[in-house]
């Protein structure tokens, strides 16, 4: 492959910044159409910088890479049980679904570890012909000097590190400093819209994972959100995912809350792991890895402009996260694909202007990505304004069900009054009704 043009510049048809879920998807699609693609990754290999819960959705992988299961993706377990665990101070109520559609192939989602998945995902881009450049950080852009200043390449931290291309797709992740440099958004991340997620991967034998989490065998897995006491009743949410021979246990808490209360993330996590309902699940396990990552939970209201002349932005860098549904990986992959399709179209026209690349935003709008982000645009604000969803209701659910399933030797009428009383003491019946309405409003986007 000769990437030097007549003047000795290194030139590609397209540059992708970041070999994560969005970036490798974009590179794969463009390379498959015959474009000469540079896929630049700052880590020593793809995935080195990535940390998530988490699970990956198959609908997105299939859309980018049809028939991907034949290529042996490094999954941990399919998600065959999903739900919520409500933690009170010393108890837990579980609400989860299993069986039915979750049991059937093709599975909707797989529990995954990124240090294994992302290299495989990038390999698929390489197999399609993309050129992976690892250990390389992009620090700036090259602008056309014709007066418009359109981006025509990137500056990396390598000696003579300029690389030229008529179109650059930025998939730099949550710390979107390059996106900010291009003034596609006028501010850095807002602590009140950003969650700091931190987790431990804890080793357990596959047999112990199965028996402790009620899974019949290694081809069953669990993905749950944990609310309530897990985040000290503050805005935040925990999670548990079963890997093959380990479990991922962690939580996300809004960054402004951590700063306001001066909380140490690892102390909250340790408290969570010592919770009487959680500790037996991980007992005897050995810590394999601890880590932390930001999640841009502002969604719609923090989205940058996703295109300008010669540039498109996809994934976390563009705040493509649906915080309530833990979606983000799927949006990243599909947005990467849509950006790639737009780049292919631009190449066929020989026009990389903002006008041509605006088709990327049209494509996002036609799909669930912009529709969902718009619908949920008020949801993170809702949680800020309704802390009771993190504190009061999980505790109430525990008390109520605990009461329901206990005998106590007293009349049932009195018991139900006590259960209702447990809610009204905490919140007030009209307030509670109002909470339900405003939650509906936040979710439905009214």
């Amino acid at each position: 492959m000769n990437n030097y043009d007549n003047s000795g510049k290194i030139t590609f048809d397209a540059i992708v910044i970041g070999a994560g879920l969005a970036g490798s998807a974009a590179a794969m699609i463009m390379a498959r159409e015959g474009l000469n693609v540079a896929l630049i990754e700052r880590g020593n290999k793809p995935g080195a910088k990535n940390y998530f819960g988490g699970a990956i959705y198959t609908h997105a992988i299939e859309e980018v890479l049809p028939g991907f299961m034949d290529l042996k993706p490094p999954f941990e377990r399919p998600v065959t049980e999903a739900g919520f665990w409500f933690l009170s101070k010393d108890g837990m109520m579980r609400a989860s679904v299993q069986g039915g559609k979750l049991e059937k192939e093709p599975y909707d989602a797989y529990v995954t570890l990124r240090a294994a998945f992302d290299p495989w995902w990038a390999e698929q881009a390489q197999a399609a012909g993309a050129f992976l450049i690892p250990k390389t950080t992009v620090i700036d852009f090259i602008r056309d000097d014709d007066g418009h200043g359109q981006v025509i390449g990137v500056v990396t931290d390598r000696p003579q590190g300029e690389i030229y291309a008529p179109v650059v797709i930025i998939c730099e992740g949550v710390n979107n400093l390059l996106t900010q440099k291009l003034e596609l958004i006028g501010r850095d991340l807002e602590p009140a819209h950003t969650a700091l997620a931190f987790k431990q991967v804890i080793s357990l034998s596959p047999q112990l994972v199965n028996s402790r989490f009620g899974l019949p065998d290694n081809s069953h897995g669990l993905a749950v959100s944990v609310v309530g006491d897990v985040s000290l009743g503050l805005p935040g949410m925990g999670f548990v995912y079963t890997n093959k021979g380990s479990v991922s246990v962690g939580l996300g808490v809004m960054l402004d809350v951590l700063a306001e209360y001066r909380l140490k993330p690892y102390e909250i996590l340790e408290r969570y792991l010592k919770h009487p309902a959680i500790a037996p699940l991980v007992e005897g396990g050995q810590l394999l890895e601890y880590g932390a990552h930001l999640i841009p939970e502002g969604g719609w209201r923090d989205m940058p402009d996703v295109y300008t002349g010669g540039v498109m932005v996809a994934g976390d860098a563009a705040s493509m996260v649906n915080a309530l549904h833990w979606e983000g990986t799927n949006m990243a992959m599909i947005a990467g694909k849509l950006a790639a399709e737009t780049a292919i179209e631009a190449h066929s026209r020989g026009d990389f202007s903002a006008k041509t690349l605006s088709r990327y935003e049209d494509r996002l709008r036609e799909r669930f990505i912009l529709q969902d982000l718009r619908q949920y645009r008020n949801f993170s604000k809702f949680l800020e304004q309704h802390p009771e969803f993190m504190e009061v209701y999980p505790a109430f659910l525990n008390d109520a069900l605990g009461g329901f399933f206990s005998a106590y030797g007293k009349p049932k009428r009195q018991l139900f009054q006590e259960i209702l009383g447990a809610l009204t003491d905490r919140r007030g019946i009209f307030k509670a009704a109002g909470d339900i309405v405003s939650m509906g409003r936040a979710v439905m986007g009214w």
Partner: protein, 114 residues
């Protein structure tokens, strides 16, 4: 310019505060793989005088790997070698007083599990 007056000012109920578990952070850090760039710190304090005037110093708490600590002379010490490049400090320093760039290509944290 101060970003958020509420940082450091709120308190948990005593019972919750006491329920937090002490952690020896080095026990967590030993599980992480790093390629440390000895020549070029990618984090720094822009102006120690601003830190000296910062009443609550939330960076001493929210950093998930305890990069920031108070030195004997009262200045903020930056152990950039432990950084997992999450970005919290850049975003949540009340005075935007933390210099933050990505490590040079290939350096910094390299997750083994992710």
């Amino acid at each position: 310019m101060k970003r958020n007056d509420a940082f450091g000012t709120r308190e948990l109920p005593e019972e919750l505060q006491e329920s937090l578990q002490d952690v020896y952070v080095d026990d967590l850090l030993v599980t992480l793989k790093y390629f440390v760039d000895e020549n070029q710190p990618h984090l720094w304090i822009e102006d120690q005088d601003i830190c000296a005037r910062c009443q609550h110093k939330p960076c001493l708490y929210f950093c998930p790997v305890n990069v920031y600590s108070l030195a004997y002379d009262g200045t903020i010490q930056v152990s950039y070698q432990a950084c997992v490049e999450c970005g919290s400090c850049r975003v949540a320093c009340p005075y935007t007083n933390i210099g933050w760039v990505l490590p040079r290509g290939g350096y910094g944290v390299a997750y083994k599990f992710g």
